[in-house]
């Protein structure tokens, strides 16, 4: 029986491991242990190697994340324009630090080291949508609007 992940694994070789993990994460929102064991088995990669790759790259998560993902860009240009303040704002509004998820599972926050929209900084991405020239006030309003969606 073809499951979702066997479709992802079709015609893939060990070289394609990162792409396979990206596709699995796109499907599940994170990398479940069960799926990683299947990848190790089907692509003949030692499980410790799969585990290493899943832990090495910043874009992979081994735990389920919140419904809404807030990404704060911490690149140099955004940093000099006050990006660290957004971490404070999120902490104040939602009580979580980068890498954490709120208890009700609604929001997760993460930082990223540059999304390449430097002239428009500070940049915050919410659920895949880019918000430019952010201020703590705008972020507060954005979080309020998103709550409960």
């Amino acid at each position: 029986m073809k499951t979702t992940i066997s479709k992802i694994l079709e015609n893939k070789i060990s070289e394609d491991l990162i792409e396979v993990l990206q596709d699995i994460q796109a499907k599940y929102g994170y990398l479940p242990e069960e799926q990683l064991l299947e990848v190790s088995d089907k692509l003949s990669i030692p499980i410790i190697e799969v585990f290493r790759v899943a832990n090495f790259y910043k874009s992979f998560y081994l735990e389920a994340r919140g419904k809404h993902l807030i990404t704060v860009c911490m690149g140099t240009a955004c940093h000099v324009r006050g990006a660290p303040k957004f971490v404070d704002e999120v902490l104040g509004q939602l009580g979580i630090k980068p890498g954490e998820t709120t208890e009700d599972g609604e929001f997760s926050v993460e930082t990223v080291n540059c999304v390449g929209a430097c002239a428009l900084g500070p940049v915050v991405i919410l659920d895949g949508k880019y918000y430019d020239h952010m201020t703590p006030g705008k972020l507060r309003a954005l979080i309020k609007r998103t709550k409960g969606k």
Binding site: F56, T76, G116, A117, C118, L120, D132
Partner: protein, 616 residues
């Protein structure tokens, strides 16, 4: 699309496209790069398409959605040809007027024109805007002329003619000679002579050989490669084809960082179209030359911009570098000869082949030839992508093109080369952007990131920012990088918290030297540069933090306090509402910030419109 089989077919296709485009009386070019998408250009585009359809103008007026123009702060922006009219900050609601006034009746909409901050005058034509005028946009200007998702646009500007020329003459050594004579050096940071790299890969033993395009662009603040790959993927593909022919390679990879989804999408479309036309694949044009390109997405690791780590990642492993005692041109991807070059390096190749090595070499300095794209950002009037010939002074880039400092501020330094580079004091702004000149000054050209800093930036905080970044991104394999950098961060954190000593400053310097000499890879070796360059040029700031427990720029949180001046305060309550930690209280009309719980985030200071909040 029908396959093209030879040069005649290519020329015919180009002429067909030029003829098609000449049907239109006007072309509206709208920038659809990542930056403008963030500002809402896609909504403007949809509105424009709708309006032209409603008014039955789709046969007369062409819309072309292009890649990044590099003047992101002005987006969404459009350029209307043939009169070169430039409109900025365009909103969907402006579209009906643009169509009726400008497109149908040639009337200019003053409100959408760019205002030159130096003269306060409005400028109508894009070519007259000082930011663009003072550059030499050899590569970047191509972005304006093509829709990256339509290979026909690239072909109509002479695209793929360089590749077809070298395919027909089939003289790999000649190609390498031409690239060597041009003086092209790696644009990703290493600055290694490209022709020499190709030659050593060609001479290496082993098969098959590989070509890699490094689109990992991990330097925060740099987005040149994003703009080129998103907006002009065919130039990169053509460069790789020429390189593959010169080296004798059969397979190519473009390794794109995960955080650039639009670049991945456009590159994939471009590869598909090149394959359809027969420009990629087996036995191209019936010759013995075969070449294919695969896109590989990074997983999110700055260290994967280092070539050996990138190749490990391409092999499906963790991105850990290895010692480069044997070069990757001899043993690289899968232990076979591999030639890796940066996006911008590849994109420069077709024009060098078309215009000749001398054309490229006559620009620039003795050892740094051609033009380079820089991402000019930070505390400056005009931010965006700047292309100038090598040898241009920092002063010209920052003041003439960048427009100088923000109102009321003075520029203090410029940070070049990303986390591997350093901060250069404004006293040295006469320096040319030249590989050797910037390296001698303690920084580097790097990939092209240029962040301008004014007096409101604390240089010790900048060094701490870069160290924090590098400690996070280090792969952790070697002792000097992993432990050394964390010790350096420990010391600099003490300094920013007013706990530093002069002995610690000397230890910081000595640790920095050890890390730079003994680390395994280029990340570790260049990691101390931000610290070393800030100590060199801004030692007095370090000493102020240590001896006077003061932060001159009023940035380091432990050394500043926020207080409300109740004589000035208007009791508007804005600060109270804005404070994310609830540390502002009011008793009997007196507003007080609880200094024990205040995190010094500075949000209240930014919010107060009456300057009632003081920092000291």
């Amino acid at each position: 699309m029908a396959k093209i089989k030879n040069n005649k077919d290519l020329i015919a296709l180009s002429e067909k496209n030029i003829k098609e485009n000449s049907k239109y009386s006007k072309t509206v070019t709208i920038c659809a790069g990542t930056g403008c998408c963030a500002s809402g250009c896609l909504e403007v585009l949809t509105e424009l398409e709708k309006e032209l359809k409603n008014k039955k103008l789709t046969n007369k007026i062409k819309i072309r959605a292009t890649g990044c123009h590099g003047f992101c702060e002005q987006g969404p922006l459009l350029v209307i040809e043939p009169n070169n009219i430039f409109y900025r900050h365009v909103k969907p609601k402006d579209v009906p007027e643009i169509v009726s006034s400008t497109l149908e009746n040639n009337k200019i909409i003053e409100a959408l024109l760019y205002i030159d901050p130096a003269t306060s005058k409005k400028i109508t034509k894009e070519t007259n805007i000082p930011f663009y005028k003072k550059q030499e946009r050899i590569l970047l200007n191509q972005n304006k002329l093509i829709d990256p998702c339509n290979v026909n646009d690239y072909i109509s500007i002479n695209g793929y003619s360089a590749f077809v020329k070298v395919l027909n003459t089939n003289n790999p050594e000649n190609i390498i000679e031409e690239i060597k004579k041009s003086g092209l050096r790696g644009r990703g940071g290493g600055g290694f002579p490209t022709g020499r790299k190709w030659e050593s890969c060609r001479k290496a033993e082993g098969s098959p050989k590989y070509i890699i395009c490094n689109a990992d662009e991990g330097d925060p603040g740099a987005y040149m490669d994003r703009s080129v790959l998103e907006g002009n993927p065919h130039a990169v593909i053509e460069g790789m084809l020429i390189g593959a022919l010169a080296i004798g390679a059969e397979h190519g990879y473009i390794y794109v960082r995960n955080e650039y989804p639009l670049a991945v999408k456009n590159a994939k479309i471009a590869i598909g179209q090149a394959e359809e036309l027969g420009l990629l694949g087996k036995k191209i044009f019936g010759t013995n030359f075969s070449f294919d390109i695969k896109i590989s997405r990074g997983g999110g690791a700055f260290v994967c911009g280092e070539s050996t780590a990138l190749m490990a990642s391409l092999e499906g492993q963790v991105g850990e570098p290895r010692a480069k005692d044997i070069h990757t041109t001899e043993r690289g991807f899968h232990e076979l000869p591999t030639n890796l070059n940066n996006v911008e390096t590849w994109a420069n190749v077709p024009s060098i082949i078309n215009n000749g090595a001398a054309w490229f070499a006559k620009k620039g300095t003795k050892d740094s030839k051609g033009t380079k794209i820089f991402a000019l950002t930070g505390q400056i009037q005009n931010t965006g992508l700047v292309e100038v010939h090598m040898g241009t002074s920092l002063k010209k880039i920052i003041y003439d093109i960048g427009g100088g400092p923000l109102k009321g501020k003075k520029i203090k330094a410029v940070q070049t080369g990303g986390p591997s580079g350093g901060c250069i004091s404004e006293k040295l702004f006469d320096l040319p952007v030249d590989f050797e000149a910037l390296a001698e000054a303690g920084s580097m050209v790097g990939s092209g990131g240029m962040v301008v800093m004014d007096e409101s930036t604390c240089m010790v905080d900048v060094a701490k920012y870069f160290l924090t970044f590098l400690v996070d991104e280090s792969c952790g394999k070697c002792v000097t990088c992993r432990i050394g950098l964390s010790r350096m961060l420990e010391i600099i954190t003490d300094i920013t918290e007013g706990k530093g000593t002069m002995e610690q400053l000397e230890l910081l310097f000595e640790t920095a030297e050890t890390v730079s000499l003994a680390s395994l890879c280029a990340l570790g070796k260049t990691a101390p540069n931000p610290v070393l360059s800030t100590i060199k040029y801004f030692r007095e700031e370090y000493e102020a933090h240590i001896n006077k427990k003061e932060c001159p720029a009023k940035v380091c949180k432990s050394l500043i306090t926020y207080k409300i001046d109740n004589k000035v305060c208007t009791e508007c309550n804005a600060c109270l509402k804005a404070c994310p930690h609830g540390v502002i209280t009011v008793t009997n009309g007196n507003y007080i910030i609880n200094s024990d719980t205040c995190t010094k985030c500075g949000i209240c200071f930014d919010t107060c419109k009456f300057s009632a909040i003081k920092v000291n």
